[in-house]
Amino acid sequence: MIYEHSRVGRRAMAQAPSEKVEMAGIPDAMLRASQPPLPEVSEMQAVRHFTRLSQKNFSIDTQFYPLGSCTMKYNPRACNTLASLPGMLSRHPLAPDTHSQGFMACLYELQDILKIVTGMHAVSLTPAAGAQGEFAGVAMIRAYHDARGDKERSEILVPDAAHGTNPASAVMCGYKAREIPTGSDGDIDIEALKSALGPQTAGIMLTNPSTVGVFERRIKEIAELVHAAGGLLYYDGANLNAILGKVRPGDMGFDVIHMNLHKTFSTPHGGGGPGAGPVGVSKRLEPYLPIPMVDFDGNDYRWLTEQDRPDSIGRLSAFAGNAGVLIRAYIYARLLGREGMHRVSEYSTLNANYLLKRLMEAGFDAAYPERRASHEFILTLKKQAKELGVNTMDFAKRLLDYGVHAPTTYFPLLVPECLLVEPTETEAKEDLDRFVEIMQTIKQEAESQPEMVKQAPHTMPVRRLDDVRAARELDLAWKPGA
């Protein structure tokens, strides 16, 4: 904590305001009466503190990061450099359209690129992250049914393997989430789906490839069944990296999709930083897209607002959403081009299948051994947990000692002792081979000295945290000494 370095009166004068700031025009009731509890440190102390923290961090810039379902791939520096050009970075969000034509042209073309990549009829870029994209998508499903006077539809179907945000988004939009089980082959249980469908079905939310790392093979049949019941299909774009340029959600029959530009399109995912969750829709949902969107009449770009789009579900973020993330995505897409997009999905799936095959040869069990992996796959360490008493979390912690970020553990919940591995397209074969060697070494350690593995990590700045005690005895101080 930087507060631990704090001493009363210590300051960084070079960073202090040069004259007193006047608080004119703010009502008394809204002015704070006491000073906020800020750390008092010198500039050098602040620099050292945050540099040390960054050195403790695991990141894609320093380590292999196969965190399943998160697509922790390398994000080219060029995208960030170009998105940081002064014309992009310094543009005021209230600048008039006539002063923003270049910026708006980028967003307009990004809308078009995402339409082509996903096979959807129209795209709005404004949702600020994946979960907000989901909310926008389900809100549009609701608006569609409501506009038709079809108000009895009360349920959204969600597979049991789905990300937790799916049922949460459904509930936020006033629907009841109904769970559909996954079959032992990793596909959705079609018979359970059939019996769940009815006049109360507003739609279904699917991730394809699913969170268990396989492609839903009967998607056409699922689309027909749901549409026949009067429901709509929502595509969670969490795993879009696996299918870029290969197969399009629009062609699979989906009515609405959200994309996570902050994982698939060159913004680092995770850490709570800014994201972008654009939504794409089929023709019948087009009137409900969130605003603003960018329009082009052949000469000029302009914002589409409430006046142009009266049936829109409305605004979800200030101005155009997280514009910096959108610009990065645009640059990434332009740098890749059509062929590059194909290579993303080809190499991400090739890397995953290569890694899965080699780990199976090394004696690890795949959760779905009969299935070809998508861009990620699941190992189940049930055998190791049972026979050696060394579970998935122990393997994950020991991986840190070898300089690898652990894959996702214990998600999806339906696979016991689950390790979800996503190598991404940006790792070289040598890095994948090294991961296999490390996993083999840990397996041997688990057999010869299980207690050592169970106490890992041994070389990290902090040892194994007592997460049970941390969760039971919450310590949520918001200010020092509280």
Partner: protein, 130 residues
């Protein structure tokens, strides 16, 4: 050797249901279920007076791995909850079939028994899942 008590019945979703003989039933999760979840850190119980329906979720158990819904095996009114779990969720880990009980339900009609298992049936279910 099975530790599954024979004085109660079991749901496939790993809850146990014990007939207290006075129209009231005690409900908890099984020892197998707590083992799968791992160390529990939070338990969310229904409120007394709530009417719970058989097969519907009515409580949540949260471990460091996962949060999981608990489904009521019967329909009825909640007449008591195990408030001791609030500060000590680990009681379920230590004694799932005893002090780790979760809530009691007053059942108006006969228990919907068809989908519930006896101890032997539940042991067979666990063996099959493994």
């Amino acid at each position: 050797m099975s530790n599954t008590p024979t004085d109660r019945r079991y749901a496939k979703s790993h809850e146990w249901l014990k007939d207290e003989g006075d129209g009231n039933f005690t409900i908890g999760i099984t020892d197998h279920a707590q083992g799968l979840l791992g160390d529990l850190v939070f338990v969310d119980l229904p409120e007394v007076g709530t009417v719970v329906e058989a097969g519907n979720d009515c409580a949540v158990v949260e471990s460091v791995k996962a949060a999981s819904d608990v489904y009521s095996p019967v329909t009825g009114e909640v007449i008591a909850v195990n408030e001791a779990l609030d500060g000590a969720p680990e009681t379920i880990n230590d004694d799932a079939f005893g002090n780790g009980w979760m809530f009691k339900v007053k059942v108006a009609d006969a228990v919907e028994s068809d989908s519930l298992l006896d101890a032997a049936g539940y042991d067979a279910l666990i063996a099959e899942e493994e």
